[in-house]
């Protein structure tokens, strides 16, 4: 297959097109602008539709209409825009609508800055909008990984009829790497629930909705959502490990940060300490059992994030008392260097 040299953002857009996505609605925000820019010329080439919406709210609600009409659709943004989309994401989760949403994270809170960050972890994995819902959340570690996960996300969103979030960051979005993007035929799913005009009277009238004014019926609706989430937790966990054998310190990091850990491991002699790396790829569902298993026999766990410690909460829940959990994080758009992480690891090594 032909190798191309592409920016993460552009590769994400092309991967979507090659996965059969023909609708994209978005609003400009750095550092993800290459995604809507790419779609704006690419989609018309393949008979698709690109709309620069009036706002992120407009964009996600256009996604609602298009998804409810049975078509594959994507939107993308960065933190502040995701806050605006939260309403629509909750409605789509409630109405069982598939959509792929990309968040190229920048530093917050508020307007923050446009530099890379991982501080939207909790927003993506624990809700962000109102109600008991979850989204599939995938965290790419590079450009090829972003491509593969975007294509997977479309299939999984369709399969489970729910929103899937690609949680990248400014590094993943802006960096260029060699990448292969293949056409991926959408999985076959029944979309007879979609509004297309009620010609076929053999199917029930299609109604896309999350309103249910009878409490017992709404509870039933919620129980169905929860049953779906339970099934996903059992079967859709993704993660990677590196250098696990005989390691005594386990570092847990996702996205671009996991690559920095890889550099720290590859480039340093760690004075008798061997370092393993556990990289969750699906952040929801979180690889809880797998992480706990990986920490067995380790002297300690170090979580590294570009945040104040958001994934840390999930790691602590997963690891329990199997091993002590330490944390190192940078904020404000600062990318921790391999050298400073190496120093953290050495410090832990001295204590052990």
């Amino acid at each position: 297959m032909e190798k191309r040299f592409m920016k993460g953002n552009e590769a994400i857009a092309e991967a979507a097109v090659m996965a059969g996505c023909r609708y994209f609605y978005g609003y400009p925000i750095t550092p993800q602008n290459e995604i809507p820019e790419y779609f704006s010329w690419r989609l018309p080439e393949v008979g698709g539709i690109f709309i620069q919406a009036e706002s992120e709210i407009g964009a996600i609600n256009m996604c609602y209409g298009t998804s409810g009409s049975g078509a594959r659709v994507m939107t993308s943004s960065s933190g502040p825009g995701l806050s605006l989309k939260a309403e629509g994401i909750s409605y789509m989760a409630g109405a069982n609508l598939p959509v792929v949403i990309v968040n190229i994270m920048r530093a917050g809170p508020g307007l923050g800055s446009i530099q890379p960050s991982q501080s939207d972890y909790l927003q993506a994995t624990k809700g962000g909008g109102h109600g008991d819902y979850n989204c599939l959340v995938y965290a790419p570690t590079g450009v090829q990984s972003a491509v593969d996960l975007v294509q997977l996300a479309f299939d999984k969103a369709d399969e489970y009829r729910m929103p899937a979030i690609i949680l990248g960051d400014g590094v993943i979005g802006q960096m260029m790497e060699p990448v292969v993007i293949q056409e991926k035929k959408p999985i076959k799913v029944d979309k007879s629930w979609a509004t297309v005009g009620w010609k076929d009277k053999n199917r029930p009238r299609a109604v896309i909705n999350s309103l249910s004014l009878v409490p017992s019926e709404l509870e039933e609706w919620n129980l169905n959502l929860q049953a779906k989430y339970k099934k996903i937790k059992e079967s859709e966990v993704l993660y990677e490990t590196y250098n696990m054998e005989d390691s005594d310190i386990l570092v847990v990091a996702y996205g671009s940060t996991s690559r920095t850990i890889r550099s720290a491991i590859d480039e340093n002699e760690l004075k008798g300490h061997k370092i393993g790396l556990f990289t969750p790829i699906s952040l929801w569902p979180y690889p809880e059992k797998e992480l706990k298993e990986a920490t067995k026999g380790k002297k300690c766990v170090l979580v590294v994030e570009m945040s104040a410690g958001q994934m840390l909460q999930d790691v602590k829940l997963a690891v329990g008392d199997t091993a002590p959990v330490h944390f190192y994080g940078r904020m404000g758009g600062i990318i921790p260097t391999a050298e400073e992480i190496f120093a953290q690891i050495l410090k832990l090594g001295e204590v052990l």
Binding site: Y23, Y25, I49, I51, A53, E54, S55, I57, G58, A59, N61, M62, C63, Y64, G65, T66, S67, G68, S69, G70, A71, V73, E87, G88, Y91, A95, T195, V196, G197, W198, K199, R205, A206, V207, I208, N209, S210, L211
Partner: protein
Amino acid sequence: MSETLVFKRPDMLRNVGFHYCPGCTHGIIHRLIAECIEELGLSDKTIGVAPVGCSVLAYDYFNCDMQEAAHGRAPAVATGIKRVHEDACVFTYQGDGDLASIGTAEIIHAAARSENISVFFVNNAIYGMTGGQMAPTTLVGQKATTSPHGRNQKYAGMPIRMSEVMAAIEGAYYIERVMVVDVKSINNAKKAIKKSLQYQMEGKGFSMVEILSTCPTGWGMTPLDAVEWLKKDMVDYYPLGLIKEGN
């Protein structure tokens, strides 16, 4: 003795009871839209979008494929539908809180893009569903639960005339304001609704019919007093008639 059926429920309305209050004109407006869709032969190619507000359950009443939108977002949802199903008849049904307050960005930009959809905007100058709060269309002096002494222009500003606002947008093709208080005005309203749907099927682009509606419960009036207040006070501020046709 033989019976002749002279009046029946349009097939485009489902056989379920409306939840609307006595004297409210939502029911008439639903019926007019249903009749027009049927008469134009669009029943099996119509996709409607229900709003948040009194007509939140509209998806349960219209006998076609429907989507329920978040508050104010119906024009964006309709955009998402129409771009997939270009040949479908797509309409939104929105109240004044939905369209003239929380959803102003969505309605204005749907018109700016000249989305080829029909918007039915029901203006009853109050938030009905939530219990009678002041709306962006509440008249000066009109009492509401959040303007207990009547809307004060100094604090709350003046009500918005949405049809006039929308007519200023280049992409809007057809804008008309009607009411549904007597046979004549109901017939006029039906003509406007039908025209809007026809223009959509001809691909003319965005159209909106504003329908002045009563809310006896929210206004604290009898249905008849409500009709009189609408004809006098509301029409005085919101003049009826064609506001824009063609672009």
